[in-house]
Symmetry: C2
């Protein structure tokens, strides 16, 4: 397993961090670096961090200090962003379904805009957040993404036009379009195709007198899990070219990105301890103090984490790794090559900064890992 | 969808319970009934409720009042049981992997016994809980279970004998055997086969002077999701016959059951509200105020919940149901036939008493449903 994503220096620092396991070590300095790397890759772009990836206060604080905006999906996330002192203008609501409480609070607080992708939603926004800016989410191809999000959200070209017109008729301010290429999208093709779709709607809307300026490209910017994954630079270049081609000459155009995983994924390491060991037929099992239920829930969606021991000593054993619960779905990884492990040894799960503590439950009475900030 | 499992009367009472959704309505009166139905089905048997299925205080309290014992898997679960005033003698630790803290506390509190299924674990118990009673968990066939648990836990016949001998040599009290046929096990065959395996080890252990008396048959007792599922009565009869055949003439034999789902599964109903609605191609989606991440995580393991609307009016529409988060894994069910649903209408997910709030996380800032007790 190579260290493409989580750099050696992070791992080295985590290995000497002596907190009680299980914990999630976060390198907030590198979160800042990731923020600027993505921002620099898309000239003129703006970042609205997707709070759902990791809503820990330390992450939100460092991003707010860099000037990041925030994409919030629920009342809890909205209140977290507001509590940090983030300007409401720097908050958007990109969850296509929002309840009355959220909309009333968003309207009262004066957040910049919210998304819609159904007639019911446009009507709900008009009712509970009258006059608000809205943007319409399109359904786009997610086939290049590790975690596709299509089908659940997004409208067709025709429906996008209908919703924009409905929004205007109901007194809302239709300002733009949004899409999501899928989480951990490894190819630039998805962005190009999505921007082509946006361009067509953009021009048709103008014919109806609706001049869009807000282009929300969602998340999906990948962490570099291997050499084939598109880099921020490649994605940025493709995006810039596609915008120039499909959405030229838009005065006041705002290009929004909503990265989640890309800001925190490879800047977090889950540190666990071996609590049990058993030989089961040909397999040697190690039982750890946290698992699928307490933080590594993305495993059930097909995710994997590069795993390291306390040293870089050569691997001499092959293990099956499991979490602490009585549930057999709580099996973390199979056939993992490692140095020989004893009860009490620690293991390091890299690329674990996003969708870990957020997915975590206390099933079977085992705690969600605490966050430790690497200074 | 028929109401085999959750009886009409429960649903009727939940429909008139006006708490704010999302909530999990629990019928604790029926928990008591389930307890006695299983107990009556296995003459001479004892129940140690598997706390992991639903650790809500109301559930633990009514079971404790009936005289139930408790199977705890973690320090948190142990402290919950002790805090209720349950006698430590009525607590066992059937998680095959236990950490130092749990073992020290279990020993100090004087719980009745703990399980082991590896050499490392027997040594750990001897070190942190010297002199304790131990029972050894066997690997048994889980092929008749909806949620198989094999592979992660359990030893072979030969290793069981080794661990019993090791336990004795290390000053522990080897008292018995345990197995688990798999969660929601729908056929009696698994219990019969497992008891046959137990019998063989039981007799061999006696030849070494280890006279076992503690037979822990674990959980897996199914809730009646359809007519093909074995009833408590059928399972109890098969168990009694198998014990008489394979483990005859054991003075002081204790027959332990560790039901979790069977005590609470069909006595709980998740009540959610429709917050959004969208037409996506041919499909109509309803978005609810709780979903896969907040309580219905077993869906990712293949579970389903019989779903009902506010009335028993004929189904006229087909819906896709999704939870409130931005994540497309948060899709609850597809092609559900229901009366026409509007935003604000409630839906009832039956058979939801077990592994729902326990699996729940706050992902995306959405809360785990609160528990409401149906008096």
């Amino acid at each position: 397993m190579t260290l493409i994503a989580t750099r050696q220096s992070v791992l080295d620092r985590v290995r000497t961090h002596r907190a009680m396991t299980p914990f999630l070590a976060l390198d907030t300095g590198r979160v800042i670096e990731s923020y600027h790397r993505l921002l620099d890759a898309v000239p003129g772009g703006e970042i609205y961090y997707a709070v759902k990836a990791n809503s820990h206060k330390a992450v939100l604080s460092v991003l707010a200090a860099q000037g990041s905006g925030f994409d919030v999906a629920s009342l809890t996330e909205l209140e977290k962003a507001l509590a940090l002192g983030v300007s409401p203008e720097r908050i958007i609501g990109s969850n296509p379904i929002k309840n009355e409480k959220f909309l009333r609070r968003a309207h009262e607080a004066g957040i910049y805009a919210v998304v819609a992708d159904s007639t019911d939603e446009v009507e709900k926004i008009a009712r509970f957040a009258p006059g608000m800016r809205v943007y319409i989410r399109l359904a786009v191809d997610n086939s290049g993404a590790v975690f596709p999000l299509d089908k659940k959200f997004g409208v067709s070209h025709e429906q996008a036009i209908e919703e924009l017109l409905l929004a205007r008729n109901l007194g809302l301010q239709p300002i733009g379009l949004a899409f999501h290429v899928g989480s951990q999208c490894v190819t630039v093709r998805n962005w190009i195709m999505a921007l082509r779709s946006c361009g067509a709607i953009w021009h048709e809307a103008a014919q109806y007198g609706i001049h869009l300026t807000f282009l929300d490209m969602g998340g999906g910017y990948p962490i570099p899990t291997d050499e084939t994954v598109a880099t921020f630079g490649e994605i940025g270049e493709a995006i810039s070219d596609a915008i120039a081609e499909f959405i030229p000459e838009t005065p006041g155009l705002r290009v929004i990105m909503e990265p989640g995983r890309a800001m925190v994924g490879d800047n977090g390491v889950l540190v666990l301890t071996v609590e049990g060991r058993a030989q089961r037929g040909e397999k040697t099992w190690l039982y750890l103090d946290s698992g699928v239920f307490n933080g590594m829930g993305e495993i059930l969606e097909g995710s994997t984490y590069p795993i390291f021991a306390d040293t870089d000593a050569p691997a001499t054993h092959t293990y099956t790794l499991a979490g602490p619960s009585c549930d057999s779905f709580d099996t973390i990884a199979r056939d993992v090559d490692l140095p020989e492990m004893q009860i009490g040894d620690r293991l390091y799960f890299t690329n674990a900064g996003a969708y870990t503590i957020e997915y975590g439950s206390n099933f079977n009475g085992f705690a969600i890992p605490e966050v430790e900030i690497l200074e």
